[in-house]
Symmetry: C2
Subunit: 507 residues, 2 copies
């Protein structure tokens, strides 16, 4: 290999390809990694075997300028290789990996706010190529910016077909050989991670899940650890990767106890110099993980009781993503058959309580092409309204929304509202007041006020109106209670459900 300087853009992937041994079991026998240096800073990148005698070390530079690398290996021909790369400015569409910011929110590494509006296609990368292409086509116009997707294929109702590639090579007895990953399967998976990256979609990579008929859940702890190292070595240099340790970790507790899950987090940390976001998703609503652990970057929950979003957020002190508030659909499973209107309702409640929500779609289909499992096309009605909500949020929110519940009024346990400075978004949902004031600005000013019909996706200007009811409510023998005015003004509303009010200060 020649010692030449290659150019790579910031947060893009630099890949070092090395030829090495093909004999024995290179997956197990050969260790290779590289140290990337920038001045006194050193970054360690773990390499992996990609078959056919090819070893790769991937690196995502985060600082512009010249980097030098040196390889390390237990095999002489892979050891001590050196070289340089020049890290150029990021491409205009590239903002780097997503990080936590402002305690409860996210931003890309370049500071651009990121508000997750994700969807779920658990096994889409395991479907026939044509269906995968259709999924990507759908995502072009669906306005989702995160995808939950499993490394492993899924065995479950409506998911009974064989995967495009088995994840491991097969031994003489027809069983998976956990010492030999099938590089075709991983190439396919990472090809689609890259495709999502090019569309600005984060890949929320589900590392383990319980829905298995191939024996993948039967691996030993050592097999799991080797798998994690391999997966992270292959994927960590894709800037759009998030590590979702599990779909429904609690259904695996009999084979992977909690301490083992902690250990999995640590193995990822050891091999991921980019510190991608890490979370873990529960099955039973009562079995949420202890998200306060420092290796959990943000809270991922499955729970339908979305008016508790601000409470969960407060309990764990991290960004809150409810990735399964139940899916739009009509299958005979309660997690997959709520109406489109209910999905949109739960998204609005979640967002106006300072959290983020994920979408999925489970309409029965003659060929079992349910979006949630296999991707393909969207057949429902909620995705359009979720896209509308995303646009509203991205138009104005800068620091992230803080629930009005934190200001102390009890009303926010029932109605949902949040603000970001002078920007306020109040969502009434099943509530249908004809007049309203609570949560509107306490000081008069030049405000632009709009009524938003969350289902019809219309925005209608509202005028200021007198405060609806006298605040000087006398209770208990003349004592004044609730005597403070609720706001500087009120608004008249149409008196029907699923409405929101937006307040912005005119500049």
């Amino acid at each position: 290999m020649k010692n030449e300087t290659l150019v790579v853009r910031k947060w893009d992937m630099f890949e070092l390809s090395l030829n090495g041994p093909r004999t024995g079991n290179p997956f197990v026998d050969v260790d290779v990694n590289a140290t990337f240096e920038y001045g006194n800073r050193q970054v360690r990148a773990t390499g992996f075997y990609d078959g056919d005698g090819v070893y790769r070390v991937r690196f995502m530079p985060d600082t512009e300028g010249e980097w030098h690398y040196t390889t390390h290996s237990n095999v002489r021909e892979l050891d001590g290789k050196t070289g340089s790369l020049f890290c150029d400015a990021a491409a205009p569409e590239s903002h780097g990996p997503v990080r936590v910011r402002n305690h409860h929110h996210f931003a890309y590494a370049d500071g651009t706010p990121y508000f997750p509006f994700g969807t779920t296609c658990y096994a889409w990368t395991h479907q026939p190529e044509a269906l995968q292409a259709q999924t990507l086509e759908t995502l072009k116009h669906a306005r989702f910016n995160k995808m939950r997707m499993g490394v492993f294929p899924k065995h479950y109702i409506y998911n009974e077909n064989e995967p495009l590639y088995l994840v491991y090579e097969t031994d003489a007895d027809g069983n998976p050989d956990f010492a030999r990953p099938n590089v075709e399967a991983f190439r396919q998976f990472e090809k689609q991670v890259a495709a999502l990256m090019s569309m600005g979609i984060e890949a929320d990579v589900i590392v383990f899940h319980p829905y298995d008929r191939w024996g993948y859940c039967d691996r030993s702890y050592e097999d799991d650890a080797r798998y994690l190292k391999y997966l992270v070595a292959r994927l960590n240099a894709y800037r759009n990767v998030w590590w979702s340790l599990a779909n429904e970790y609690d259904f695996l507790l009999d084979v992977k106890p909690v301490a083992q899950w902690d250990r999995y987090f640590h193995i990822i940390e050891e091999h991921d110099p980019n510190r991608h976001l890490m979370s873990i998703h529960n099955g039973e609503v009562s079995m949420k993980f202890d998200h306060r652990k420092p290796w959990v970057s943000h809270v991922c929950v499955q729970d339908w009781d979305v008016k508790r979003t601000d409470q969960w957020r407060r309990e764990w002190g991290k960004p809150l993503v409810n990735d399964e508030l139940e899916y739009e659909g009509d299958i005979p499973r309660p997690w997959g058959n709520i109406s489109a209107q209910e999905v949109v309702h739960r998204f609005w409640i979640t967002v106006t309580r300072g959290g983020y929500a994920g979408h999925g779609e489970t309409y029965m289909h003659p060929d079992d092409e349910l979006w949630w499992g296999k991707g393909g096309v969207l057949r429902g009605e909620s995705w359009k309204r979720i896209g509308f909500l995303r646009e509203l949020i991205e138009e104005d929110v800068v620091n992230g929304l803080t629930p009005l519940a934190e200001e102390g009024r009890w009303e926010w346990s029932r109605v949902s509202g949040a603000r970001d400075g002078d920007y306020r978004l109040i969502y009434f949902g099943e509530h249908q007041p004809k007049e309203w004031a609570i949560g509107l600005p306490m000081e008069d000013g030049d405000y632009e006020i709009d009524l938003i019909d969350t289902w019809e996706m219309t925005i209608t200007p509202l005028e200021k109106a007198p405060l609806p009811v006298s605040p000087a409510l006398r209770q208990r023998g003349g004592e004044l209670r609730g005597g403070e005015p609720e706001a500087a003004f009120g608004v008249h509303l149409p008196g029907k459900p699923y409405q929101a009010v937006r307040v912005r200060r005119r500049k």
Copy 2:
């Protein structure tokens, strides 16, 4: 007074009128009560002063046959009066007071099941007579069988008019004289309790509440205790009385701490030989009373999070009545502006999780005639569907509904269902499966199955269908999970929200 035998029907009221002193303050100075004897059994009835030198002792006989009484008093002319009454069989429409039965349910004293479907008109007995008459007229066709109503008038938004009668006489300074109840006010109140009784409606009498401008909340503990004795003496012989110690007791905690509430329960017990039902209602959802205390007969809650009904029921081990799951209406208060559909939805969820729910209506009105405060007419849409639900329950339920959640399947945290032996009622709400099996009978048989549209109030027969999805779901490396069949058969459903399925065994 002549010693004659009067005839009174079981669970009707026997009233002993005695003439006594008018001088001093008879309310405070004179004690009168009577012992009613049936064989060796003795029942103590507390008497009260009704103005104009008249003292009354009321008694509700619960056993047919001859009773003898003797009065006791600190005033000679009221002491030692004796007499008899003959208790005849109950009137056909009279079933006696409502009691707890089967842990989580109610029945009248004669064993007839009672399923509460109540409404709320806090201050209806304090309105002009014409409006009170209109309220009774409305109740004739509204199909409610319980009314929450306050002894005291209400001072609150939309409740700013003066009451028909002040509850106490006024002293020289214009302040209420807590030593002198206004007998007109109590007569009016009990006249309406009796009117409800004649219509088969339980009077859930709210003893204290915080919404006051007359100084009633300023009474001392001694004043409260005297009031309780007076109220209970007057009302306990009405068989339809329930004691609701408070509307929103927690808003009164600064003047009435928890131990004092316990004491109020005890004072009622001391003067109520009929042991009417007793409950206490919270304001903040997080401030529910400790309903495990033995003097609390059933749980009364205010909470919107109705999918927790079965959990509350289990926690407290008593009948659960959610008397404020938010009201149908359009006022600018979140407890009083949910849609009719949402109210009906919450009623169905509550009932199909083994609880009971209460109604209220708060539509703005030019004369502030909101049903919840003043009665009058119903303007909404939920009351009709609640009546429909009541008829469904009364048609088939015998012992009361037990939540299917108690059978252990996790699905019942999301979808609601309950059974009473072979009778099953599954409510899908926002869920819209096209097929379903979970919760249907595990053994095949001759079942009558119906689809119920809870909003349209239609009942459509359903046929048995094959089980919708394979139950033999293999997970985790071949281990069988959920391998038991879900039911003996499935059903096809329309795939839209707010549907229920009813299963009955043909006789």
